[in-house]
């Protein structure tokens, strides 16, 4: 029997595609900070500062391709985790919106991404522990 399992095959392909996408994101991020910030306000500056999103979109594409490669059980599990993490993020960020009204400091929209990543990690770990 081959030792190259479904999990290993899909995992390798995912890491390769995500790695390339992240490298593109990182290069564009550094370039946009280096060359975009000094530019005068205008369309060109906006486009340059937004350019890291090309890498980000490639990461989303890598995730979509990963979902497509997974078997039905793993795909369902992952999509359920994403859904729960998105709901948790919505709850937390919505709550913080009320707290801002109550005088808490205003946060950047970038914070939403951090909350989403943390929520996804938390949900994944809790579900994995529950399934043991």
């Amino acid at each position: 029997m081959k030792s190259d399992t479904h999990e290993k095959r899909t995992g390798r392909a995912y890491l390769r595609e995500l790695g390339v996408a992240f490298a593109i994101y990182a290069i564009l991020l550094v370039a946009s900070i280096r060359f975009g910030r000094p530019l005068e306000e205008g369309v060109l500056r906006t486009v340059v500062l937004l350019s890291p999103m090309i890498g980000f979109c490639l990461m989303l594409w890598a995730i979509a391709r990963h979902l497509d490669r997974l078997d039905e059980y793993l795909r369902r599990n992952l999509l359920e985790s994403f859904a729960l993490a998105a709901a948790l993020t919505a709850g937390l960020t919505f709550s913080y919106g009320f707290l801002e009204t109550a005088g808490y400091p205003r946060l950047s929209m970038f914070a939403v991404w951090i909350v989403l990543a943390a929520s996804t990690g938390l949900v994944t770990v809790v579900r994995a522990l529950r399934q043991r």
Binding site: M1, K2, T5, H6, E7, L70, D71, E72, Y73, L74, R76, Q131
Partner: protein, 67 residues
């Protein structure tokens, strides 16, 4: 849904990983199906049926009969 997959697999001396590879799915999927935590789709159920050479209804047992 209950099933006889663990017994059928054992008869053939296959591990969960062996069966997973034959069906081109993950070992976790086989474990989830065997323990009744996951009911496979019709295409996967038929692939299991073909692999064991048995009809689907001889492998999977419904929890209760419905009309």
């Amino acid at each position: 849904m209950k099933n006889h997959i663990r017994a059928l697999r054992a008869e053939r001396g296959w591990s969960q990983a062996d069966l997973a590879e034959r069906l081109e799915v993950s070992r976790q999927s086989i474990n989830a199906i065997e323990t009744g935590r996951y009911d496979p789709s019709l295409p996967l159920a038929f692939a299991i049926s073909r692999l064991f050479g048995l009809p689907v209804e001889a492998i999977f047992l419904p929890d209760q009969e419905t009309a």
